[in-house]
């Protein structure tokens, strides 16, 4: 009699296409063949992933069509198996997979659209953050200002692409009616994905904001981030950007880094 582990290994292998593993399972046929019974599970398992990932990547699915998407997901599931009992958190590797997926080779923008959709999905379930504490900012000594760090909302992500993925994403919404064609020569995008009061938003950033947020996201002090922003965009106006970020709850806290204790928040 096969052990529980042998049965589970054999059944998983069979579901993912290793027909030779079926025999050792000792499945009772009874009216329907053992292979047909495994087919039911294979259809359920692959169908679950297709459905779950279609919900996370609706624009990718619309861009390639349902049949192409389903085939890509079936291949993705084999190449990057789920490692969680929570299927909602499965799909983070899809962009990387699509970049190497031969049938999608001509669709250079597709992995970046997948990255954008994953960022949007994850932004919806990221941690909440308390309101910005102005009192804490006001209470800081002036000589602390240069080493001030801003904490971004946990949902915030920068997505950069050499393709116009925001335009692609907007006109290819699953319920969209507009013409889905986009001129890939429009140029690239630098996008901020973050959850605010009204849900997850996507906005296009200029070079100054991109440099600022990239630096803040990497825990650079404000002074460093601001000088990067000014290098990227000489007309960049820091106070305007900061005011907007606090209002939209993109910046949620300040802290001062002790220069001798790397990474320790005050």
């Amino acid at each position: 009699m096969p052990s529980l582990l042998e049965i589970q290994r054999g059944m998983a292998a069979t579901i993912f296409g290793d027909d030779a593993a079926l025999v050792a399972l000792g499945v009772v046929a009874g009216g329907i063949s053992a292979a047909a019974r495994i087919d039911i599970y294979r259809n359920n398992v692959l169908g679950n992933y297709r459905k779950a990932l279609a919900a996370t990547f609706p624009v990718v699915r619309r861009l390639v069509g349902a049949a192409f998407f389903d085939a890509a997901i079936d291949a993705f599931v084999r190449a990057h198996p789920s490692n969680r009992g929570d299927v909602n958190r499965y799909g983070g590797d899809l962009a990387r997979f699509l970049a190497d997926y031969a049938p999608a080779r001509s669709l250079g923008y597709l992995p970046d659209v997948a990255r954008l959709e994953w960022a949007i999905d994850q932004a919806g379930i990221a941690a909440d953050a308390p309101a910005f504490d102005f009192a804490a900012l006001a209470a800081l000594a002036e000589d602390a200002h240069a080493s001030l760090r801003f904490v971004l909302h946990p949902s915030a992500q920068l997505i950069e692409s050499r393709y116009p993925i925001l335009h692609i994403w907007r006109v290819n919404q699953p319920d969209g009616h507009g013409p889905p064609d986009v001129d890939l020569g429009e140029g690239g995008d630098s996008l901020l994905v973050a959850r605010g009061e009204h849900g997850v938003g996507v906005e296009r950033l200029g070079p100054g904001e991109t440099a600022l947020l990239r630096a803040l996201g990497r825990d650079a002090p404000l002074a460093t981030a601001a000088s990067r922003a000014n290098q990227a965009e000489p007309s960049f106006h820091l106070p305007t950007a900061l005011r907007r970020y606090v209002a939209s709850h993109l910046l949620v806290a300040v802290r001062v880094q002790d220069p001798f204790v790397k990474g320790s928040p005050q």
């Binding site: 009699m1 096969p2 052990s3 529980l4 582990l5 049965i7 589970q8 290994r9 059944m11 998983a12 579901i15 399972l25 000792g26 499945v27 009772v28 009874g30 009216g31 329907i32 053992a34 047909a36 019974r37 495994i38 039911i40 599970y41 359920n44 398992v45 679950n48 992933y49 459905k51 779950a52 198996p81 789920s82 490692n83 969680r84 009992g85 929570d86 299927v87 909602n88 958190r89 499965y90 919806g124 379930i125 990221a126 941690a127 909440d128 946990p154 949902s155 959850r195 849900g199």
Partner: protein, 280 residues
């Protein structure tokens, strides 16, 4: 530790994302709500906030689909920790999981896969149920699953296996009447033998859902109204077990909320009728 109140012995519905806003707005007259635990394994955001708001108005049951009580792999400590954290936040009236396996060698299939019904599987499941109950500090409700195959070397009838898990661990049973019916047809047994073997005192909840009968096997899709023979079997179950919290589940091709409420009203009619008959 979250205090747990029992679910009321009335009809409830499975709450799915398309209905959350409407439930919050209209507060339908339904006894309780059940959600999939994993849908709330999140760090924050509007879905979790909505569940907390709903929790103020309705008893809530957390129904897991991914803990994999029957895997030869060890229990996933992160999954259990997230469940525990969610339970502390929501203070559910019940926490349930399926009698199945879904991962092997760290690879998840994210489906409810059938166990061989033998001593090795029984001992392993009982260990896992014990561990989960200890971690949660409250009884777990364990649900019988529908299946499309069984193993030649099985040494238990399914109903004896389910009953043994309850007897050995003291867990409660989430008795899915639809799954019993589906398995009875798929594997050729009399569903009344199943009912007769289940210790009624262990049953803490009942599930009802629709299946797909278009192929050679009945497939438990949770995508249709409850079939007439399942309603008949449900009535037999309530006659045998007494009134139990009864949940209408619908997970694919989710219809308008009123369709679910209408199905729940049918279950409630059976519960009320049999409760009155006992009282008379």
């Amino acid at each position: 530790m979250a205090s747990s109140r029992a679910l009321p012995a009335v009809a409830g519905i499975g709450l799915r994302a398309p209905h959350v806003a409407e439930v919050r707005r209209s507060r339908p007259p339904i006894g309780w709500l059940e959600v999939h635990s994993e849908n709330y394994f999140v760090d924050g955001g509007p879905a979790l906030a909505a569940l907390e708001a709903i929790r103020a108005d309705y008893p809530v049951s957390l129904h897991g689909v991914g803990l994999s009580l029957g895997s030869a792999d060890p229990l996933d400590p992160e999954h259990l920790a997230r469940l525990k954290r969610l339970a502390a936040r929501i203070e559910p009236s019940a926490i349930s999981e399926h009698l199945c396996w879904s991962h092997v060698d760290g690879r998840h299939l994210n489906d409810l896969l059938p166990l061989p019904l033998n001593d090795e599987a029984l001992a392993l499941v009982c260990d896992r149920v014990d561990a989960v109950q200890t971690a949660l500090g409250q009884p777990l409700l364990v649900e019988n699953v529908s299946s499309y195959l069984r193993f030649a070397d099985d040494t238990f009838a399914e109903w004896d296996f389910v009953a043994a898990v309850a007897m050995k661990t003291g867990c409660k049973l989430l008795f899915d009447v639809s799954n019993v019916y589906v398995n009875a047809l798929n594997h050729g047994f009399d569903p009344r033998s199943y009912l007769a073997a289940i210790p009624g005192g262990s049953v803490a909840e009942i599930h009802l859902a629709g299946f797909d009968a278009s192929g050679p096997c009945l497939i438990d899709t949770h995508g249709a109204r409850v079939a007439p023979p399942v309603w008949t079997l449900y009535r037999s179950a309530i006659e045998r077990f007494g009134p139990k919290p009864t949940l209408l589940e619908w997970d694919t091709d989710i219809p308008a909320l009123e369709v679910l409420l209408d199905e729940a009203a049918q279950a409630q009619a059976v519960l009320s009728e049999l409760r009155d008959a006992v009282a008379a």
